[in-house]
Symmetry: D2
Subunit: 344 residues, 4 copies
């Protein structure tokens, strides 16, 4: 059994890791930590786990020591030192934060306000979006697990960008996220009566996931891409829908694009390319590691419209982190992740 | 008192008309009709009205006869004959359906599959979006009340289009609507357990409101415009948010555009241009006739992003219809419509 | 115009007072205050009010001075001194908190942990539940506005208790409240993802509204009554449903009880006794000052089951406070409160 | 592998059976049927299953033939003949409908309007509530799977009734159910805009689950019991909370009762008796087979208040049916049912 440790287990991504790893057939949770709740059982924080996982939060050092793989679900900026320590101790480190996601230190500084403490470490890091970069993940020690918007948006448009079917310029990602994306901490904006029956955009064209989406798409296209990214907040618990708009290049047909998607994702268990006529719905991927994609064609404006739906806490965080662990440890990628989404 | 009749009073738009007109200080409901519920009280259908309006549904002929102004909230295709009859009888006719909205019979045929029964009648019809075409509405007898998406999207982008600040090509309206937009009839897609905690696009780039949005924007710009329109279904009762994307022309600054909006809407009671930094939220316009607009700038891609929020059943249907009635009858436009949206 | 001041205007009850009084035809808001947001506009806190009421919060002293009637929507314990000051200055004082609700200082000490600072003041206070104690309210200066559960539960069972149709012993109030009842302050328990799709009881048989319900029912029956009161938290914004159970006395028929209710409430505009077969629903009283009541009979156990539904923020707080103001100032009780609940 | 057949696979209980059995390690779905959707894939009805279970609905006869165990999720009244046929063919029959639940033909006639077609068959039937009647289930061929309210309410009060700690008379079950309990068919009452932000009781003291709850409690107490049962409809997808009220007998202490519960449920994996101070919440049992129970004491009225929470579609339907299958086939009762409820 792989011994897994979770740093920051009481946040939402951490809690979802606890839930998934508790039933993983090839891994067991060695220890969990939380700065805010040290000494408390995870099931005191999340009574859903009562009697099923009553592990007590300890400190980060203890977790690292007991684990083969360390998952860090920390606020941005706290993972660089922890990651360094894990690598020194020979552990696999899967970071659910943003510290190792951007290759460019300049962009990291611009969007997150920090710098790379150890450039060598950043060079070892691999961006853990398996459907696009699986080969690089195998056997690596330091995995930068993508963010939620940055999983969903690129997967929705990747085959079109990689195949050169759409213009590199002018891509728009209009995204809508459930509330868990904003974390466990109660705020006025997420207070039930002020969010329920509401809907609005936030951080318009200024969200930190922008450079991460651009980095992924640029790697696929081979040229520097700029995207317009607008996130919105949905009054639901889980899920992200990305509606991605791109201009189809002259001479390219929508059918060609659809075929390219089918080819691109034909062996991907966790990507479900929906039949023509269907529309991706966050309802259908809840509590699962799937990314559903539907393709649409605006023939009047010659635009490709691709919708991608994920559970932001699973494929957009904890599930993908476990998928990365599976890859690193040579397991079948689906191990412990074959959740069928509930029908209702 | 203006005598108002409501044809199709038991649908959602009709019921909202009943509610608004029941407290209107200068109008009174003369009669209401419903094909499905003839002989039943409106408060049997909507127990919220119990004791406050218990009028009984009669047939359409009786309603026309008793009324100075007839509101028709009917499925598309049923208003042309009714409208003709009202005009013959000298009534004002406010149609909440689509029959008189499109100026081009060709487009009507393409999107709705019907034809203009009486071209002269269509020429008398005026498109009732007061903030854009108020002068044409005054004193008219036949008002085509805009649809919900087609109120919200054009209002959000109108000053930019009219001022020539953005490219005519490539405008995208990514819209999200509450469930009442789909009407009162229960369907599998709107069944609570299948919609709640879900979110998806529908009728992507093929919704009938597309030519109506284009018609309005084309009138403002003076050139034929094509827009990409993608509606989505939100798990909330009321509200539409339109997130509209447009490319800013070279040499135009975002500040210029903001000033143009301020000028354009400075005397419009029902349009609230939000302060910089705010984002329009459907939560804040519920149960009111307001359209909240927020402006955002993607400086990296030089795009204008305008968000417009309305209550789809009020500013997007019944409220605007009453606003049109007020204009036609020379009342203060706000009469009976000064609802303050609830804070929660 | 009556000059009204609101102390604690930025809490939920205060904000609802602002909304209602802004459109009241016989009153105007003279000033508002907030400890937390002094110097800020109410519309900065609640953007729904933007452009409609942008009054700036000042301090409590200023509000009292400018007002004929002072509404206090404060945490429990802060109203006694303020009330005393208002009475000295000759103002009408309507307290939405609990400080003046209980007649028994002993019970106040037991449930709230405080004492009566000025017993004479408490003797002047009248309990402002107009449908039960209207005659006492007229012309009074100090009104203790009932709580939300304590409006809904007594109204649902009052005619049965007053008429002596049910046993005084064993009454159960199983109540379910929307989230606004817990106030504006975000907490873990009210955080959207943890409340949405959830439902649970809280403060079981230990909620502070218990003695207040008992006081009202005891006044009606003339004997000391004890009730079992269990509140639950509903994942909706507004509304309380009270399901009240009582044992029907031997020899009393359900029809007798129904007739007694009809007689009891026949002149009450704000109480709607629903037809047989209907069930009171919080959906149908939202944003209104109505209390809907439905009566049900368990003939197998010979129990009366009465359901009462209110909007907890209106009939359960701000609306009732305005109703009390109307009574005190000799206005028609409905003035400014004739909101028709939306049908959806 | 046990070959399982599902009759009525496209209803909500059927779909949940499909989902659970698709990942059951000791059973496989042999065939599924649906009258309405014969020839269609289950994943066309429930796109959440797309690619994971695309089995096509056939007719009932084919399903019986191919199966070792037949689950029937049919409208009431359709299971008696099917059950007879299954028994003749030597299959195990688990009926999720009500046809075999009531032992008394008289009560069946009163509440369901039908009669027992084959009394011998009814005598073979066993009521499948494992935590209360496990010993009778083992090795049986015909299992009447309890309804949702009738699982939750009895489990919440069973130890108190069985132990004789509470009065047999006067027990009240105030229950609140999510919308899936009303099934897949869209109706006006379950239409999103009319249910969302609403809450009401229905079938007050007249719901068909009443005699079933009474039968279970009467078996536990040894005397004929009558309960007051009032169901309400919650605007959530899944879950039932039963708040059960009972009068504590003289001389019995609340601590005694709590100890009796601990003893009663100490070996029950699927019942979680919550710590003192906690309150059972449907949020914490979603998508799991658990029943959470919290105990509360109204010392002023000397009442026991027990709250029980289940997922109505799992412990209240499909999960319990699989639990019964596991028992009948001698498997570990938890097999295929160890779902950890999501934390949010």
């Amino acid at each position: 059994m792989i011994k897994a440790g979770i740093i920051g287990a009481t946040g939402y991504a951490g809690a979802e890791l606890v839930r998934i790893l508790t039933t993983h057939p090839k891994a067991e949770i060695a220890a969990i930590s939380s700065v805010s709740f040290e000494g408390k059982a995870i099931s005191e924080i999340y009574p859903a786990f009562f009697g099923l996982n009553d592990m007590v939060c300890e400190n980060a050092e203890g977790v690292v020591e007991k684990s083969d793989v360390v998952f860090a679900a920390l606020p941005h900026g706290l993972s660089q030192e922890l990651g360094a320590e894990c690598i020194i101790q020979g552990k696999v480190f899967v970071d659910l934060g943003a510290d190792f996601r951007l290759e460019s230190e300049e962009e990291y500084a611009e969007w997150y306000g920090g710098k790379f403490l150890d450039k060598g470490l950043h060079e070892q890091a691999v961006y853990g979006l398996p459907e696009l970069f699986r080969d690089e993940i195998k056997g690596k020690k330091l995995i930068a697990n993508p963010g939620c918007y940055t999983t969903c948006s690129p997967l929705a448009i990747a085959p079109a960008v990689k195949g050169g079917f759409v213009e590199a310029k002018g891509i728009i990602c209009d995204c809508k996220s459930g509330v868990t994306g904003a974390g466990r901490k109660p705020t006025q904006g997420n207070h039930f009566p002020e969010l329920n029956e509401g809907f609005h955009a936030y951080k318009v064209a200024s969200h930190r996931h922008t450079p991460e989406i651009e980095q992924t798409l640029s790697r696929l296209s081979g040229e520097k891409m700029t995207v317009t990214f607008v996130p919105h907040l949905l009054p639901v618990n889980r899920g992200i829908l990305a509606t991605v708009y791109a201009d189809i290049k002259e001479g390219v047909s929508f059918d060609q694009i659809r075929q390219a998607y089918e080819e691109f994702y034909k062996d991907e268990y966790f990507v479900r390319l929906l039949p023509s006529g269907a529309a991706a719905d966050i309802h259908n991927v809840r509590c699962s590691n799937f990314c559903d994609i539907s393709l649409h064609f605006d023939k009047r404006a010659n635009k490709l419209i691709a919708c991608g739906a994920i559970d932001n806490m699973i494929k957009g965080a904890a599930g993908q982190a476990v998928q990365n662990m599976n890859i690193v440890f040579g397991l079948d990628e689906k191990t412990g992740l074959e959740f069928i989404p509930p029908a209702f």
